[in-house]
């Protein structure tokens, strides 16, 4: 059997050190070891985006990142970004527009959308669709998601959007 590897990761602002099986991907580590079940496992081959988390401020596929690769890095999940209030405006827009049904893709959608809002605040509707095209939703038909993001982009900046 492989040896576990020690890694120190700052997850949602809390620094923690764990001995981790190298084969464990980040999404399983967050879910199984830390009980952060908000990010979801769906395809485990990088297509669906349900496992999207933030590593050092940038969105990543949690299933295509080993937990040990996060050693020395900062990881943020939907739970932490909900508590910090960073996602609040987006979450409210998703709620009001019913931009989710089963909710399984939603944490990944929110993290991707938040990256768009930070990086590309002037995005057109077409560009929103393009940016979001790596996150699968099987319920909504996407329009409500695009509408919600567009609403946030078009609303003058308030607290909570950074």
């Amino acid at each position: 059997m492989e040896d576990r590897v020690e890694a120190t990761i700052t997850v949602n602002g809390t620094r923690l050190t764990r001995r981790i099986e190298p084969r464990m991907h980040l999404i399983d580590f967050l879910r199984e070891e830390l009980g952060l079940t908000g990010s979801h496992v769906s395809c485990e081959h990088g297509v669906c985006g349900a496992c999207t988390v933030r590593v050092d401020g940038e969105i990543r596929r949690g299933c295509l990142t080993l937990a040990v690769q996060a050693d020395g890095r900062t990881v943020d999940t939907v739970e932490g970004l909900s508590d910090s209030g960073e996602l609040a405006v987006l979450q409210q827009a998703f709620h009001e527009r019913n931009a989710l049904q089963c909710g399984y893709c939603t944490p990944g959608m929110l993290l991707t959308a938040q990256a768009l809002i930070k990086e590309h605040p002037e995005a057109t509707r077409e560009e929103i669709r393009e940016f979001m095209s790596g996150n699968l939703c099987r319920c909504t038909g996407y329009q409500a998601i695009i509408d919600a993001i567009e609403t946030v982009l078009r609303t003058p900046r308030t607290e909570g959007v950074r």
């Binding site: 059997m1 492989e2 040896d3 590897v5 099986e21 190298p22 084969r23 991907h25 399983d28 485990e44 081959h45 990088g46 985006g49 999207t52 940038e58 969105i59 990543r60 596929r61 299933c63 295509l64 990142t65 080993l66 040990v68 690769q69 050693d71 991707t112 990256a115 393009e130 940016f131 095209s133 790596g134 996150n135």
Partner: protein, 284 residues
């Protein structure tokens, strides 16, 4: 769908990485961005004994201009290339191609060197590097060697990389005055691997093309230079006759393999459509 067990090493210097590759030979795999490798490990399509993570080795990423050469570190992410002003200025082909690579979360992690070493014939970077006549800088414990991109891709998922070697950088001649680039893909969904793609490059003087490079992706076991079509356009005015001649040459240039959705015949047809569109883009 969990990977089989492997050991993990995160060397802090190239020498350490070489020692690990030496020790484990074919049972070791290099881990850069991991966006293809980890998917295949999750599916247990591969089961290495050890992953050598090159993420902590200094000096492998970054984009710099040295004289007339754009140097991109092997571990530079797709996203960094996409956002780079230097790339947009000196190798616009790469800037055009980058947004076609998968999706943002994957571009944040996946690397240039990883993509080249993987050598997926449907991937964007291999075709771009061939079209740009880039040089791949390969390093081992014996030192550095430089391999022309045209010689680098040997077969399906097979490159000129030898045992104990890794890609450290890619050197690209900076775009010259009058040089035009065009990158086109036909994909059924944004971010998918292309059915057929084309990395095109030429110098344009008036409407006359020279230094024409037409490199296809998704049509063979490696990126494919359409030499007949290139010759048909070389030194020619980019008019309908030249385009038709290039399209006719495509039939001889390419021996595409069918994929699950698209026949070889359809791929060849689409390659012909793309060459016309590429010429239009180059002169447009």
């Amino acid at each position: 769908m969990k990977p089989s067990a492997f050991a993990y090493a995160r060397p802090r210097a190239l020498e350490e990485a070489f020692a690990l590759l030496d020790k484990h030979g074919e049972n070791a795999k290099l881990l850069a961005g991991g966006q293809s490798l980890l998917a295949s490990l999750n599916m247990r399509l591969a089961a290495p004994e050890i992953l050598v993570d090159i993420g902590a080795i200094p000096g492998l990423d970054g984009i710099a201009v040295r004289g007339q050469t754009l140097v991109i570190g092997a571990r530079t992410t797709h996203r960094a290339i996409e956002r780079s002003e230097a790339v947009a200025k000196h190798a616009p082909l790469l800037a055009q191609a980058a947004p076609h690579i998968a999706h943002v979360a994957i571009r944040n992690a996946g690397t240039l060197g990883g993509s080249l070493a993987m050598a997926d014939p449907a991937a964007e970077w291999p075709a771009c590097c061939v079209a740009l006549q880039a040089t791949i800088v390969v390093t081992s414990k014996k030192g550095e060697r430089r391999v022309a991109a045209t010689d680098f891709f040997k077969d399906l998922y097979t490159t000129a990389l030898g045992a104990g070697e890794l890609i450290t950088a890619v050197e690209i001649p900076c775009v010259e005055k009058g040089e035009r680039h065009a990158f086109l893909e036909l994909v059924r969904r944004r971010g998918d691997y292309a059915i057929v793609g084309l990395a095109a490059r030429a110098r344009l003087k008036g409407k006359t093309l020279s230094g024409v490079q037409l490199v296809y992706l998704g049509v063979g076991v490696t990126p494919v230079q359409a030499k007949g079509a290139m010759a048909a356009l070389e030194g020619k005015t980019a008019d309908d006759a030249a385009i038709r001649a290039a399209q006719d040459a495509i039939a001889r240039d390419l021996e595409p393999n069918a994929d699950i959705y698209t026949s070889a015949e359809a791929k060849r047809h689409l390659a012909r459509v793309l060459v016309a569109r590429a010429v239009a883009a180059l002169v447009g």
